[in-house]
């Protein structure tokens, strides 16, 4: 039987491939230098040379939007990576050893969950100071509790299965059991969450950059470009239209892709979220 992918998943996959290609190929595709300032060209409307116009410093908006894709995809992947590793470790330790260790780790995780995600990221930035790297770390760390909880719940379920019992009976070491027997069996839901989280991370990072707490000038980052354009809404709307649209389209594409992935990898959660 051949399963047919839903249209939105196909759109998500194709869109994501397109975005990655454009981001990787930005140096080849971009007609100008993203950082080159030409004050005599400032605030030009879209034309034959500058397809999406220029910003306050005469930089080419189209070029900067293309390069912005590299920044955003990097931010998304790095922050989710930062969230994933401690989440996997805390979650598998709590789920596998249970009892005291579980109680202790989960109280800590619950405290972190008492902060809304963006607020947790803001508090971490407050400690580390503004900057794109710090924003990635902040968003990553703020995501740890979600992974820890998901991994713990999955480990608790898998731990009771007979093949784990068999592994314990044959005298495998605990580390071996976690890495070789349990983790491969819980990867589905974790990967699905990862994909959806990349979109969330991109959205939050661009928000932090918009507030001046993430990427710093002159970096071609979409959120930062938006905040540079907000003073010129009527004079130069192109400054904020293109980067905003790109954030929206990128996050939407990743979400569509992530939803599709979840339907395949984690049918139970998909059902909970009301996917057909």
């Amino acid at each position: 039987m051949k399963a047919r992918l839903p249209l939105r998943t196909v759109v998500g996959c194709v869109g994501l491939m397109l975005l990655v290609t454009v981001a990787l190929g930005a140096p080849l595709l971009a007609p100008h230098d993203p950082l080159a300032m030409r004050l005599e060209d400032q605030l030009q409307p879209p034309n034959g040379i500058h397809w999406l116009g220029t910003d306050l410093f005469g930089r080419d908006v189209f070029t900067r939007v293309l390069y912005g894709g590299r920044v955003s995809l990097r931010v998304g992947i790095v922050s989710v990576g930062i969230a994933l590793l401690p989440g996997l470790i805390i979650g598998s330790l709590a789920g596998f050893y249970r009892r005291m260790l579980d109680a202790l780790l989960m109280r800590f995780i619950d405290t972190m969950l008492a902060f809304p995600g963006l607020l947790l990221a803001l508090s971490i930035i407050a400690v580390l100071g503004p900057g794109l790297t710090h924003a990635m770390i902040a968003i990553g760390l703020a995501g740890v509790p979600r992974y820890a909880r998901l991994v713990r719940a999955s480990v608790l379920a898998v731990r009771e299965m007979s093949f784990v019992e068999a592994a314990i009976a044959t005298g495998c070491k605990n580390g071996h059991i976690i890495l070789r027997h349990i983790l491969p069996n819980i990867l589905g839901p974790v990967v699905a969450l990862t994909a959806l989280d990349v979109g969330m991370a991109i959205l939050n990072a661009s928000g932090l950059s918009f507030l001046g707490l993430g990427a710093q000038p002159p970096e071609p980052e979409w959120g930062l470009m938006l905040s540079e354009g907000r003073g010129y809404l009527l004079q130069a709307p192109w400054m904020m239209l293109a980067p905003g649209l790109m954030i929206f389209v990128t996050v939407l594409t990743i979400n569509l892709f992530g939803d599709g992935l979840r339907d395949v990898l984690d049918p139970y959660a998909a059902e909970q979220a009301g996917a057909p």
Partner: protein, 307 residues
């Protein structure tokens, strides 16, 4: 009922303790000497730094500082701003009503739209309403609130001149920011309402209600909506918490004063007493909303209480 609320209150004590401790620790996690870091933006002299260290009690033992922090907190004392010397608690009380106003307006908007859309999608057999519902929720979660906010400003205030772009004031200052902020939650609420209604419509007691001759309207208002309210309450409470955090960005977009902007400015200026206080207050509000949601949940759904 009282027992349930008491138990739920007791359960939130460790979380509140954890949040306060995290807020206290944040200053000590600063790389290097906290007093030096805080004044770095301002270029304080060695004497200033030593004085600040004394004022913040950083010269005392770690345990002593922790006890002092709690004692001050219980008196409602959150310290003073490093730059304006205004008590942090007073600044927060000044800005809190604006933030609550914005978050409340946004959740009301999201609830009205989300519930209507969700109910429509579940009760009519027209597929296009279903598609609208799914599209709104997909767009809602992917749309950056700072972009939708700027688009609203561009259209309704720069071009059409219908509504003011920024500032505080009456209802007309609230419409644009509340719409931008609330839109993100509209889809999520609509989606949950729709799914839970469809779920309930398939239950046996609905068939019974129909079999005893109730009209479709009576079935919906008498049996389905009441049960939908349970999952509806949960998602609305959850979204209200998110919106509270979302005000941080919305207030900057619309140049409104509020707790979020106070926090962002304080982070940029390394005004740590304000950062600590604002984060603490927002987190405590978030915890209270979750608590309140659980209590309301138990009031509507007796099954929860007896578990």
């Amino acid at each position: 009922m009282i027992a349930y609320i008491g138990k739920r209150l007791l359960m939130s004590i460790p979380v509140v303790w954890g949040v306060v401790t995290l807020a206290f620790l944040s200053v000590h996690l600063l790389p290097g000497d906290p007093a030096e870091v805080m004044l770095s933006q301002w270029g304080g002299s060695a004497a200033n730094i030593a004085q600040l260290r004394r004022e913040l009690g950083l010269d005392q033992s770690f345990g002593g500082q922790y006890v002092r922090y709690w004692a001050a907190l219980l008196r409602g004392d959150l310290g003073r701003s490093l730059f304006t010397n205004i008590p942090v608690a007073r600044s927060i009380m000044d800005y809190l009503p604006d933030t609550i106003e914005l978050a409340t307006a946004a959740i009301v908007m999201a609830t009205v739209w989300g519930v209507s859309l969700g109910v429509l999608a579940a009760t009519t057999s027209r597929p296009w309403i279903d598609i609208v519902c799914m599209t709104v929720s997909a767009i809602g979660v992917s749309m950056p609130v700072f972009w939708s906010g700027l688009l609203l400003i561009l259209l309704f205030s720069s071009i059409l001149h219908w509504l003011p772009a920024s500032g505080q004031g009456g209802l007309q200052h609230l419409i644009l920011p509340a719409s931008a902020l609330g839109f993100a939650s509209t889809g999520a609420i609509a989606q949950v309402i729709r799914n839970s209604m469809l779920d309930i419509l398939g239950q046996g007691y609905i068939t019974v209600a129909r079999a005893k001759g109730l009209t479709p309207r009576e079935v919906i208002t008498g049996h389905v909506l009441r049960n939908t309210l349970i999952s509806g309450m949960t998602v609305i409470g959850l979204q209200f918490g998110y919106l509270l955090a979302g005000t941080v960005i919305t207030e900057t977009v619309f140049s409104r004063q509020g707790l979020g902007r106070l926090l962002v400015d304080a982070i940029l200026w390394k005004d740590f007493p304000i950062v600590q206080g604002a984060i603490l207050v927002i987190a405590l509000m978030y915890i209270s909303i979750n608590l309140l949601t659980d209590v309301v949940y138990a009031v509507i759904d007796p099954r929860i209480r007896y578990e």
